[in-house]
């Protein structure tokens, strides 16, 4: 994120702002806030909302092929929840003065950022369980911290709601993974292959290594971040590896070993080239994701126009009758 020149903030207001946060108070929409804080929140919240919406696509891809009625309903409900999260957080960004139409425009023109994980294709049914387990799991690690500590009220409250539903999704995802891992040889192979494809991209969800993250100090001071990227990533790894072991699945990392001293699972080097490629727009299906959102938007233009036209006609009739 480029550092833009900002108006010099009033030092007294800034000091009071930082003191409020230090006291653990919530910053609400009508409160004074530094422009850079506002921009940071807009960036985080809009990226989160975009992620929920784009995230509907890789999972929506398998609703029509879900192999049992329970899984079909479950997956459809999960994607519904994500749409709801997206809607809720878009409304949250509006509290910061952002125009939702502009956010949508940025998404469909490929300018908006969203979580890199959704630029990977879902290739088998097992991807559904693994996404619930890994991707919701990683999101929860991140969002639980926000739900507890985020200084911006609307976003903190949104995270409380989101985390509750995502914990349920993660549980269902892992349950599906376990069923596959303990199922037929073909099912076991399917879910192991899915794990092998999704593990490293999931670790990349936590962002660049701390050594590469310039904004962290200010974000920590402003209660926008509580833990660093590497801390959250390690927490996720520690949580997840025992779960994999419990169901007889391996992770595609020959370096993996448990360090008794720290209690951490030490893992191998992430391919940061791949990470930056995907972030830059050159992942396996970035273009397809943006194209799908753009198609939905453009193909739906006549529908939105009809709704608007009808509302106007109704209003006009109402006004005429009242007159």
């Amino acid at each position: 994120m480029t550092q833009q020149a900002t108006p010099t903030e009033d030092p007294a207001l800034l000091a009071e702002f930082e003191a409020r946060i230090a006291r653990g108070e919530s910053i609400e929409p009508k409160d004074w806030m530094p422009e850079r804080y506002r921009r940071q929140l807009v960036r985080m919240m809009s990226q989160h909302a975009h992620s929920e919406v784009v995230g509907m696509l890789p999972e929506g891809n398998w609703i029509t092929r879900a192999p049992s009625l329970r899984r079909k309903l479950s997956l459809l409900a999960k994607v519904q929840d994500e749409a709801g999260h997206g809607l809720y957080i878009y409304c949250g960004t509006e509290t910061l003065g952002v125009d939702r139409q502009q956010l949508l425009e940025e998404l469909i023109t490929g300018k908006a950022k969203y979580s890199s994980i959704f630029n990977y294709p879902t290739l088998t049914w097992a991807d559904m369980g693994v996404i619930g387990w890994f991707v919701d799991g990683a999101a929860i690690v991140n969002q639980t911290a926000l739900a507890k500590h985020c200084s911006y009220g609307p976003y903190k409250r949104a995270m409380v709601r989101v985390c509750k539903e995502e914990n349920f999704h993660k549980k269902q995802g892992f349950e599906s993974v376990a069923a596959l891992a303990q199922g037929t040889p073909a099912q076991h192979a399917m879910v192991q292959d899915a794990v092998d494809r999704w593990w490293w991209p999931t670790l990349m969800m936590f962002g660049p290594p701390d050594s590469d993250s310039p904004n962290s100090a200010e974000l920590l001071r402003w209660g926008v971040k509580k833990y660093t990227n590497d801390e959250l990533r390690q927490r996720f790894v520690n949580l997840t590896i025992p779960q994999a072991q419990a169901v007889g699945l391996t992770l595609p990392d020959p370096s993996l070993r448990f360090d008794e001293a720290t209690g951490n699972w030490v893992f191998g080097e992430i391919d940061w080239n791949e990470f930056w490629q995907v972030v830059k727009g050159d992942g396996p299906c970035n273009r397809e994701r943006v194209a799908a959102r753009r198609a939905a938007h453009e193909d739906g233009e006549w529908v939105r126009a009809a709704a608007t036209a009808h509302a106007e006609k109704k209003a006009a009739r109402g006004a005429t009758r009242a007159a």
Binding site: T64, P67, K72, L87, A305
Partner: protein
């Protein structure tokens, strides 16, 4: 075969197929709010299908369950009306078809909520509450589209013209329906038809849409004579299950 099994499968299949068609919109709707709305309606229908096919499998007593019925029958064994298997088309096709079904659904679920078959009555009582929300949602959209822009009107009219011939089949009574009606289990579809027509005419009038003429009645789904669309839909729906026979998920 047991007419009650046949009857439960018919209504279960209607909701399974229609719920599946609606779920195809996931991630592709014109507005996020509609993605949610259509998804919710799909969830309701699929939930009803799960219950009804479960009852059918139990009644059949051959060791099958709802999943076996949903994922391991051929197209010619499905008993849904043709209306629900048609492709989703554009948003106008989806919402006009949905309204035509919802207007029927509100009536048939109400009738079946008084079925002498208690489990069926229970499922249908809940389905009736859901149908009332569905028909309000779809009816409002039919009006918005019919009385929106020239383009939306044209698309809605074309949808209605193409779908109309499929709207008789839900009301056609055969030996199975008559047996169920005689047993106090099934609905009197003949009696529902004029009420359906009246509510449909009302909405179409408000929407400025013309109800097509033409006497041709498309039918056959209730006895497995489907359109060519159902087979393609089932290929997608059943491929994973069929690729792993005997597996659990």
């Amino acid at each position: 075969s047991d007419p009650l099994v046949e009857y439960l499968i018919r209504h279960g299949d209607d909701r399974l197929v229609l719920g599946h068609r609606l779920s195809e919109w996931c991630g592709h709707a014109p507005i996020l709010e509609e993605d949610i709305a259509l998804g919710n309606i799909a969830l309701d229908l699929l939930g009803q299908a799960t219950s009804l096919l479960g009852l059918a499998a139990e009644q059949e007593g051959k060791g099958r369950d709802a999943d076996a019925l949903a994922f391991f029958r051929e197209a010619v064994e499905f008993r849904n009306v043709q209306l629900v298997e048609l492709p989703r088309g554009d948003f106008a096709v989806t919402l006009v078809r949905q309204f035509l079904f919802d207007a029927y659904d509100v009536l048939v679920t109400e009738a079946l909520s008084r079925s002498a078959h208690a489990p069926l009555a229970g499922v249908m009582a809940k389905a009736h509450k859901e149908a009332r929300y569905h028909v309000r949602h779809s009816g409002e959209w039919v009006v918005r589209l019919g009385d929106g822009t020239d383009e939306s009107h044209r698309r809605a009219q074309r949808a209605l013209d193409d779908l109309w011939r499929f709207t008789s089949e839900p009301f056609l009574m055969d030996d199975v329906d008559r047996a169920m009606l005689a047993a106090g289990i099934g609905a009197d579809l003949d009696a529902l038809r004029p009420r359906w027509e009246a509510s449909v005419r009302e909405v179409m009038t408000e929407a400025g849409l013309q109800i097509p003429g033409g006497a041709f009645v498309a039918r056959g789904g209730r006895t497995g004579r489907h359109t060519e669309h159902l087979g393609h839909m089932l290929a997608e729906m059943q491929i994973v299950a069929r690729s792993h026979p005997g597996a659990t998920w």
